[in-house]
């Protein structure tokens, strides 16, 4: 496929849609902002797209719990379309609030029944925090091939502490290599708060589903596309691009090659 179409899904309170669209267009795809009502009211069809991106923000104000109301909207209003989208071998990425939505709708870590097996809850600090974090990249995922071992991205969230329903879910995540990003030091070693900004289990910052085609992460790769977005770019004048761009490029290249 040559012309990759990306749906940047919006709803009330989503606010990272524009920069996510910018990142996808930098990565060589055609990104469109679509409101969830357009799918529910059948003015537009998810099947026209090859990548679904759930951007950051505060969908429905994060009322009740972060991402919960939007997760339910997808689950109860668009389940059929989503199941078909995944079965067609297409890609999904959820960033920050999008990750919360994917986890709370049961799309991540993923099983056949949409049952929620993990969660992202209030940071151990009890506070919303915006800071830059180092992420160690591991696991097997269509979105992260050929990435450097450690990348640098900003986080900005109040509910990012990853936890699982029980030990078996965690074991399955490890066995299937579904843990994609872990918080750590500049060398990628576990190093506690504030490098791990929220107290996540096993420093988990991002996971994918069993197929490696659905990725969710709390940090914001779309905020590190240009080198000048790095907080210390004054010292790094030879840097060609931001660390986040490769994620979007991987997604787009995957579709070009496989669909």
């Amino acid at each position: 496929m040559k012309n990759v179409k990306v749906c940047i899904l919006r709803t009330a309170g989503i606010n990272c849609d524009q920069e996510t669209a910018f990142a996808f267009s930098k990565a060589g795809s055609q990104a469109e902002l679509v409101h969830s009502n357009d799918f529910i009211r059948q003015k537009n069809s998810l099947s026209d797209y090859q990548i679904l991106a759930l951007p950051g923000g505060f969908s429905y104000g994060d009322d009740i719990a972060s991402g919960k109301v939007f997760a339910n909207e997808l689950k109860y209003k668009l389940e059929e379309e989503l199941v078909r989208f995944i079965a067609d071998g297409k890609l999904i990425i959820g960033i920050c609030n999008g990750f919360q939505v994917l986890v709370k709708s049961g799309l991540l870590p993923g099983n056949s029944t949409f049952e929620q097996e993990a969660s992202l809850i209030i940071n151990d600090s009890g506070k919303f925090e915006a800071r830059w974090v180092y992420l160690k990249n591991s696991g097997k995922c269509a979105w992260t091939r050929n990435m450097p071992e450690v990348i640098y991205l900003p986080v900005a969230h109040g509910e990012g502490k990853f936890m699982v329903k029980d030990k078996s879910v965690f074991n399955r995540l490890k066995a299937n290599k579904q843990i994609i990003f872990r918080y750590g030091s500049a060398q990628g070693e576990p190093s506690g708060y504030p490098d791990n900004p929220n107290g996540s289990l096993d420093d988990i910052a991002g996971i994918c589903d069993r197929t490696g085609r659905i990725l969710g992460l709390m940090p914001h790769p779309e905020r590190h596309i240009a080198p000048s977005q790095h907080p210390r770019w004054f010292n790094l004048k030879n840097k060609k691009e931001g660390d986040g761009l490769e994620i979007f490029r991987n997604g787009v290249e995957y579709i070009k090659k496989n669909l």
């Binding site: 309170g13 910018f22 009740i64 919960k68 109301v69 929620q116 919303f128 977005q229 004054f234």
Partner: protein, 908 residues
Amino acid sequence: MLYKIEVRDKPGIFDAVAGAVKGDILDFGIKAVKGVRFIQVYNITGDLAKEEVEKICAALLTDRICQDYSINPAPEKKLKDKFIVEVAYNPGVMDPVEESTLKGISDLGIVGAESVKTAKKYIIQGNLSASQLKTICDKLLYNKLIQHIVKPDAPGHKTGNFGYQFNLSSVGLLGASAKKLLALSKKGQLFLNLNEMQAIRDYFRALKRNPTDCELETIAQTWSEHCSHKTFRGKIKYTEKIKRAKTKLIDGLLKATIMKVTQELNKPWCVSVFKDNAGIIRFDELYNICFKVETHNHPSALEPFGGANTGIGGVIRDPLGTGLGARPFLNTDIFCFGPPDYPFSKLPAGALHPKRVMKGVVSGVRDYGNKMGIPTVNGAILFHEKFIGNPLVYCGTAGIMPRDKSFKKVSAGDLVVVVGGRTGRDGIHGATFSSGELTHESETLSSGAVQIGNPIQEKKMLDTILQARDKNLYSAITDCGAGGLSSACGEMAAELGARIDLDKVPLKYSGLSYMEIWISESQERMVLAAPQEKIGALLEVFENENVEASVIGEFTNTKKLELYYKDNLVCNLDMDFLHNGLPKTVKQAVYTAAKHREPKIKCPQDLTPALIKLLAHYDICSKESVIRRYDHEVQGGSILKPLVGVDNDGPSDASIVQPVLGSAKGVIVSNGINFRYGFIDPYWMAASCIDEALRQIISVGGALKQVAILDNFCWGSPDKPDRLGALVRCAQGCYATALGFGTPFISGKDSLYNEYSVHGRSRAIPGTLLISAISVMDDVRKAVSMYAKKAGNLIYAVGQTFEELGGSHYYDLSGAIGNSVPKVNVKKAKFIFDILSKASAKGLVRSMHDCSEGGLGVALAEMAFSGGLGINVFLSSVPYAGERRNDYVLFSASNSRFIVEVEKEKKE
């Protein structure tokens, strides 16, 4: 049927909410607290089957990985040392969670739910006395203005639904005596003086009828200090007593100073100044940018979270209501609080503790700014005892719009459309309330003036308005701020007239009178003027994204404001009287030069302890814990962040943001504020604030060629000659300095009557000027940051240091103010600024930091530790004039100075 649902964390899960509450209780010195648990409560009414309620709990309200729920649980067992406190919103206060919960329930396919009211329940364990429990409740868990403690046996929540029977009421003004007129003004909380009341009476005498309550209220709002700025636009008899007394009459202080600068400079890149909701300047070939800073001091004093929340919500609507609407791309926030460690025992009656005010204000800004997806990139926090009871909360927003969307024009026949949130009883009397002084009774008298915001409502409205703008579906827009529909419609229709049906305004609940609908300050609303042929397409844009929009009337050619409620005429005023009928009063102003004690400080041998004390001063210490609570990266445009350095913890002088991704152009934003200089001379305070805001722009690699500034005066009562005298002197400093630098003012705002009185004894805040600067940078790759880059590089002190320690933080360490206030030599300053701009543009500067609070000493320390390096300097090499003492050289607060790092090979 009412269901009470309780959701709590499973045993073993770390309860972060409860943990924070426990920490706060310990902070109060109540050590007896052993543990806190938090329970989220939802009271749901509706025709719901038991299975449906179970489904709502299991599939929506509970995160089953970490939480459990119970439906209609039995009351908690009463145990010794276990206290249960349940906090719910008062009737009529908007519950921001209700709308999304109802949506979530309907997504589950359940249709019977009618209302959702949330509450928070705390279980506090420990051997607490009744008074300790009361302290915890009053000072920490709830604010009685918007919340109440639920009685254990209360039958569920109270509802806000009351009937309303139309009954037109008028006010007996025609025969009223002077005494009666003043009594009417006071009773109606109109804050109008006798002159003004008489003008209104005379207008209605000519019409041979009494005004309706709605008419009188509309006039009071339009004429309020908040809406009409009568101090800045009226006449002032000004006497200046410096060496000998001089008196002159100023006809319009704003026109004679602030606006005069702009007029005289006449910059071609100023697009729209002092006309619209924000000032507009040119950005590039395609776009303009606009900027506005507002204050929300009075509401933040009473309900810090809600006040700051709606403060930022309100200023975001300013760019959105400028021209045909601008997309907000950055926020700035500047606060002045009382000292956080101020003893409780010394607090004046009715005042909240500064620490609670600060926590609430920061959380309020964090909540609204983050949820709107607007990066908060710049700010300052200052502290002084005189801000107890009356904190200052400045919120600013900049927006960007296509160049052809910079102007609005209402035409007769256009429809009046109200968009966004529904109207409720919240925020009645805000405009008039903020035009009076705060007293220890304000919290009971003016409770209606306090509200909480719903940022998601505003975000939805913003998203859809920009779509409608780009489709050219309306011809004018303005925001509903203070004064609500009254002020918004009144302004838009000023030249034409309007006919409005108040019963067509969508309401949050029934029971509002026509007048309440008209003056309510419910948040998240905008008013549009839409051509009739476009109304269908316009309403569809809003409907697509679940935003309510309603046609409530029409702009006319009658030059009258005609309001109807169910076909009854309730207001019929001449626009000319409403907007031009305010009698100009002459206010008296006297400025007397201040004289303070000169401190006797010996120059210490070792300056380290003083430097450490300065770095720990509340004004100077790191604000990282606050800054990190704001998302300063959203929208992806952050180039120079508020925190920089090897560990991302050094304070940037200014921030740089790219509003258009992929473009090399950026916007620099900075601020200058220092109320301490005002204690000595408000003229030099103004000069210093402007110099500070501008030198911060220079510090980050900017240039003076396109800098616009905003003025925000927060002052005491202008009815007292000494306060007004200082204000006039300050405005004169603004004029001379801004003109000298060639930087026009493009907008501004004043908040007067910042006084806190207890039992008739009034004290004013320090007269405080905030200068906010915005500039367009052609190439953001030329940006310079403040942290030291490399060992071996040379350090220069640029600009002369004088013996200017009056109002400095060094003097403040010994409790003194002094008299040698820092001055500004604009000509020399401009010369330095221009040279540094050229050096930055040539890439010669590795780092640069301006000298502000704490002088050279603090600036050098900040550069060194944020760069992870040490710095060697020779104080004897610092260009200096005055008595050469090391402490003066190191801590003098002189303006127009910089520290610059240069590589050895670029020395020449």
